[in-house]
């Protein structure tokens, strides 16, 4: 926290208008899952085989200068030199979030040493059935859980990251929070799914109104035991209590193609250097407030958490709001409690085979 705070204050003192907070380093696109809502892995085989070298990763990290490095992908544990990449970033005293589905965590954990700089951010999309349907793999939850337990046993820092789509059950998500905290993870991260234009599935992305309603139901009347590894103001943004403009440069992305324009989610071309990215991107054309249809539903951390962090350090009011949001986390709300009683219909609960049988039975009954 202190590292991030001092970094942001330095940027403010230097009057730097646009600065990166977290580098999203994608060392490969290959994955051992094929989630329908993911827009990161839809490439031909020759692209999926490509990897950034450790040297390319270090060059990008040094060029960018952000104090935190998130390593998503693809599945980073499938990278042939992920241990060297992590080792080099720890040596640079970067705070690393290695984002993994944890299917390989138990097998590969021996490659890493516990460090305050290294956190395994395990992709868990909710309770067992929700997670397995979300990642399109039966048994995915149990395998991830085994990985988490092993990492915790060995003294690693572990957080979870959860992406929610339309049809998410807020009661189930709240029970999932209990389960994760009981397991011993350090904190949890949340985000609504972004409508990747390359994702196979294009029907279950939350719009902004429904996102706010869902997160209000989930995050109001919060339990004291729940710890979130996110800006408290960003969580209030998700609940509809704050409005932010997008900060797409806050979490710049580097992968085998180069520096992605304009952000982690949207692919509108690539720059060859970080400086070129910052100077040649038409930033005003992005963000919900720009009217760009590709940004219309986005409330994702990669665009808006940096906005929340920026508010914290922009004024005394922002700092006080953050202190308040950190100390008073309950967010008691009667209306939100009622939202928890509303019926939900998770998409995976629809069994087309059963529906066909029921429809057929009803037809027979009406014919009788």
């Amino acid at each position: 926290m202190w590292t991030v705070a001092s970094y942001v204050v330095k940027q403010k003192l230097a009057r730097r208008k646009r600065y990166p907070l977290v580098l999203m380093l994608e060392p490969l696109f290959r994955c051992n899952l094929a989630c329908a809502g993911c827009g990161k892995i839809q490439y031909p085989a020759h692209i999926l085989k490509k990897e950034l070298t450790p040297e390319q990763c270090f060059l990008a990290v040094d060029e960018c200068g952000a104090p935190m490095v998130s390593i998503p992908g693809g599945e980073p544990l499938m990278h042939s030199e992920i241990d060297k990449i992590v080792e080099g970033l720890v040596a640079r005293q970067k705070y690393i979030y290695l984002c993994t589905n944890a299917l390989l965590l138990k097998e590969k954990i021996g490659l890493f040493k516990p460090s305050k700089y290294l956190t395994f951010s395990v992709h868990m999309d909710g309770q067992r059935q929700h997670h397995d349907f979300s990642v399109c793999r039966e048994g995915g939850y149990d395998a991830a859980l085994e990985g988490v337990k092993e990492a915790l046993k060995r003294g690693f820092r572990v957080t979870t990251n959860t992406t929610l789509f339309d049809g998410a059950d807020p009661n189930s998500v709240r029970e999932f929070f209990d389960e994760m905290m009981d397991l011993g993870v350090e904190g949890m991260m949340l985000s609504p799914g972004y409508s990747y234009d390359k994702a196979p599935d294009q029907k279950h992305f939350l719009g902004r109104a429904r996102t706010r309603k869902l997160f209000k139901a989930i995050l109001s009347n919060r339990k004291k035991t729940w710890q979130f590894n996110q800006s408290p103001l960003f969580l209030e943004f998700l609940m509809g209590k704050r409005h932010y403009a997008c900060t797409p440069w806050g979490m710049p992305t580097y992968n085998i193609f180069g520096w992605q324009k304009p952000c982690y989610l949207l692919q509108d071309g690539y720059a060859d250097t970080f400086q070129e990215l910052m100077e040649s991107t038409a930033w005003q054309e992005y963000g919900t407030e720009s009217g760009n249809p590709k940004c219309a539903n986005c409330m994702v951390h990669s665009g808006y958490e940096a906005s929340a962090v920026n508010e914290t350090f922009s004024s005394l009011g922002g700092l006080l709001a953050t202190v308040k949001a950190t100390l008073f986390t309950r967010h008691q709300d009667e209306h939100a409690l009622k939202l928890l009683d509303e019926p939900v219909h998770p998409v995976h609960s629809y069994n087309p085979l059963v529906q066909i049988e029921e429809a057929s039975n009803q037809l027979e009954e009406s014919n009788a």
């Binding site: 490509k50 409508s195 196979p200 294009q202 279950h204 193609f257 919900t288 249809p293 219309a296 087309p352």
Partner: protein
């Protein structure tokens, strides 16, 4: 590929219940007619959005097959270029629009037919057949 939303949706972004998503055209196997400048620009924009490989034939007759990951558009075709990773190389290649004689969407669309509904249906069908460890397999690399 066509866009996700009309102007109304953009204006009403904050009241949007469900994001409309993108409607993907079936481009696999398509060979666009590059009759004029506008056709060239539109076709290469679609190549940039495509989730598979394309084959570009240059004006000198040479062919290059690969994945288009970037396009940089300028005022003229000579100022504009697509950048791609050839199928058989690790070196990025840039091809000016003005040098492109033909374009074909030769590779498979790697995401077509993999909707969430398709997965849920497959799951319940396999479950009914008594299968276990049901899942969608990641893309094969060979």
């Amino acid at each position: 590929m066509t866009g996700p939303a009309d102007a109304k949706t953009i204006k009403d972004a904050d009241s949007l219940e469900v994001a409309p998503g993108f409607a993907h055209e079936k481009l696999e196997g398509w060979v666009p007619d590059l009759a004029g400048e506008e056709e060239v620009r539109q076709a290469l924009e679609k190549a940039f959005d495509y989730r598979g490989d394309v084959t570009i034939t240059r004006r000198d007759g040479s062919k290059i097959e690969g994945y288009v990951f970037d396009r940089r558009t300028g005022k003229t075709l000579a100022d504009s270029a697509v950048r791609l990773f050839p199928k058989d190389s690790d070196k990025k290649v840039s091809v000016p629009y003005s040098e492109i004689a033909a374009l074909a969407f030769t590779g498979r669309d790697t995401a077509a037919g993999k909707s969430f509904e398709a997965w849920v249906r497959k799951y319940w069908e396999k479950k009914a057949a008594g299968e276990k460890n049901i899942g969608i397999q990641a893309e094969a690399l060979e």
